[in-house]
């Protein structure tokens, strides 16, 4: 069982600790806001530094260091919660500085109720002090979590995005079938600055998308390299050289495929690509160059 899986099971555990609290108190919000830019729209979170100072400090620090960039929505459970993955599970490897900034957090339970929009830190089921960076955002009131998990913030903007994310197709463990990425997370210094920021509303989830360009590119080049290798054992140099030329042709076409959509913004790149294509044509004149002997 993966770590994140255990975390969500923990988050979903039904229990009631009966912690007494001043439930209706409105916690003090930090001046900073965390904005999560996702592939399905943007979310803005307000944090509670007085309720969970260590949690808030660590999350703000990790966001400022870019550690949440390229993380993803790990769980999307409609009507209950979504869970942001641990920063160690993001697409890009963490830098040494980012890794060093991730620490286990002591529990900071409080009287804050887990209600719709509450941001709460995920943790291992058997260790209340195991929260690090993965957190959940609740879609409904969940009193079973009160006093068992550290609530450290609240969604301020983007509830519609949250709803949209919760409705994407998921597997039986509530993992989204399509990757919903936190492309970038940033700290906005104040509520006023947030108000001046334009946040993206709900965006249709991207279609199930494999990196087909990369798959085809690497596959074709590998196949060409393999053919060259196999030929090198039996074929004359002329044939091997020609297979190398084919690799150049395939590589250039794939290069074109990558850059042509952006060419109009970069005329000098397009000029280089055009002249490069002419060069490739010229090179192809040497394909299976006949022996004159």
């Amino acid at each position: 069982m993966s770590r994140a899986h255990a975390l969500v099971l923990t988050a979903a555990a039904i229990a009631w600790a009966g912690v007494s609290a001043r439930a209706d108190d409105v916690p003090v919000r930090s001046s900073e806001r965390v904005v999560l830019h996702t592939t399905m729209g943007d979310l803005a979170l307000a944090l509670y530094p007085k309720i969970a100072p260590h949690h808030v400090e660590q999350v703000l620090k990790l966001v400022r260091m870019g550690a949440y960039d390229s993380t993803s929505v790990y769980v999307a459970h409609a009507g209950y919660l979504i869970q942001i993955s641990d920063v160690t599970n993001r697409l890009m490897p963490l830098t040494p500085q980012q890794s060093a900034a991730v620490h286990k957090l002591p529990a900071e339970f409080s009287a804050i109720k887990h209600r719709r929009g509450t941001v709460s830190m995920a943790r291992w089921e058997n260790d209340i002090n195991s929260g690090e960076s993965s957190f959940v955002i609740l879609l409904n009131d969940s009193p079973q979590l009160d006093g068992r998990y550290t609530a450290f913030g609240q969604v301020e903007q983007g509830v519609d995005v949250l709803e949209a994310i919760s409705l994407v197709p998921v597997d039986r463990d509530y993992h989204p079938k399509t990757r919903i990425e936190i492309t970038r997370a940033e700290v906005v210094d104040s509520a006023e600055a947030l108000a001046a920021t334009s946040l993206a509303g709900p965006i249709q989830p991207p279609a199930q998308e494999l990196p087909m360009k990369a798959i085809w590119s690497s596959g074709l080049l590998m196949a060409s390299g393999l053919v060259t290798f196999l030929l090198s054992r039996v074929a004359p140099a002329r044939v091997i050289g020609s297979t190398g030329l084919l690799t150049v042709l395939i590589g250039f076409f794939l290069f074109w495929l990558s850059i042509v959509p952006q060419m109009h913004q970069m005329p000098w790149l397009s000029g280089g690509a055009f002249l490069g294509l002419l060069g490739v044509f010229k090179l192809m004149a040497f394909f299976e160059y006949p022996s004159t002997k």
Partner: protein, 368 residues
């Protein structure tokens, strides 16, 4: 040792200067295109653009352009020796192009437009290569061997015509649909077109200076046929766009050039291969057999294959440009390997004349 600019009569002139004779060679290798350009220009000036001529150009494609692709394939695939000599071109490339075709069908909005784009730019490049080759053949027939500089200057001018025209067409963001595919424009900066124009004129000027120098020194004119492909190419790609209906005929003229030479080659090679004695009957029979074959082949490549593409549920407007792009890119490769003039197996038959194929050699009996 000082390298000659133009090496006059460095080799012995071939016994015959033309494949058939002066007028026929002139018309087939570019002269007809000059006449048609002039005629269409006059017609358009007097009567405006006549769309009927576009239909005529399409008919001529059937007659000339499609068969010329089939002639190439015939040259490669008709003998096992050729296939064994060029295994990658004959066997591997078709598979690779089949893969590109399938990828284009799978991605008609991303891969297909770029695949077609590669073909659209490669095609006039290929025309230019043929024009340079024909100039060299006629130079050799006339006994001239080009030095490196004048050869580069001639090639620079001929390739410059197409590069200039292509670059002008790729400035900006306009899209020129090709059947049902919209290949993207490259958005080239205007400066590239300006530089290409300067290179084209510069190369042409250097070539003419070389020719003038040689002519003054030797008190001889260089044969017109050496200049004809370059002149035709200039009309096709630079002046031709001033006559709107003309450019539809350019593939026909390219095919005509090719067919004359491929036909002569076919007759000579078949004769040598089967030890056939020269005769008019042989010329007529072999010409008929070859012509029928390449007509059928052209129909298969350009009419049947695109319709096979529609079996996967694609509209003919999508299947046709993708498949003919694959067919033509294969043709560019095949042409590249089978027409290398440096190959003596190719270069020597290219000096043939029709009379050598149809007239029986007279054998003089010497007294013992």
């Amino acid at each position: 040792m000082k390298r000659p600019w133009l090496a006059p009569a460095a080799s012995k002139p071939a016994p015959y200067r033309f494949f058939i004779n002066g007028p026929v060679d002139f018309l087939c290798l570019g002269g007809l295109s000059l006449i048609v350009f002039g005629a269409l220009g006059l017609i358009e000036r007097r009567y405006g653009v006549q769309n009927a001529w576009i239909g005529h150009a399409a008919t001529l494609s059937w007659l000339c352009n499609w068969p010329h692709f089939a002639a190439t394939n015939y040259r490669l695939y008709h003998s096992r020796t050729n296939i064994a000599q060029y295994p990658l071109t004959a066997l591997l490339l078709p598979l690779l192009l089949l893969g590109a075709t399938l990828a284009s069908f799978a991605s008609p909005l991303l891969v297909a437009p770029l695949f077609v784009k590669v073909f659209l730019i490669w095609s006039p490049y290929h025309y230019s290569g043929q024009s340079v080759g024909i100039s060299l053949i006629y130079a050799k027939r006339a006994g001239f061997v080009f030095g490196r500089i004048e050869r580069a200057a001639l090639a620079g001018f001929i390739f410059g015509t197409f590069i200039l025209q292509t670059a002008l067409g790729e400035v900006g963001t306009q899209i020129r649909p090709f059947y049902g595919i919209n290949p993207p424009s490259l958005g080239l900066p205007q400066l590239i077109a300006d530089v290409m124009r300067a290179l084209m004129w510069g190369s042409g000027g250097i070539f003419l200076a070389c020719v003038a120098r040689w002519s003054l020194k030797n008190r001889r004119w260089m044969p017109v046929m050496i200049f004809l492909p370059a002149t035709a190419q200039f009309v096709w790609f630079v002046l031709g766009w001033r006559v709107q209906t003309f450019y539809n005929f350019v593939p026909f003229f390219h095919g005509l050039q090719y067919l004359l030479i491929a036909w002569a080659m076919q007759l000579k090679e078949t004769m040598d291969e089967h030890h056939i004695a020269p005769s008019s009957r042989y010329v007529v029979a072999e010409t008929l057999r070859w012509t029928v074959g390449i007509f059928i082949g052209g129909g298969i490549l350009f009419w049947v294959l695109p319709r096979v593409g529609t079996w996967w549920g694609f509209d003919l407007q999508i299947a046709e440009p993708i498949i003919i792009s694959a067919v033509q890119i294969h043709h560019f490769f095949v042409d590249g390997v089978i027409w290398k003039l440096r190959n003596p197996k190719v270069g020597s038959p290219l000096l043939i004349n029709l009379d050598q194929l149809r007239l029986a050699r007279t054998v003089r009996l010497q007294p013992v």
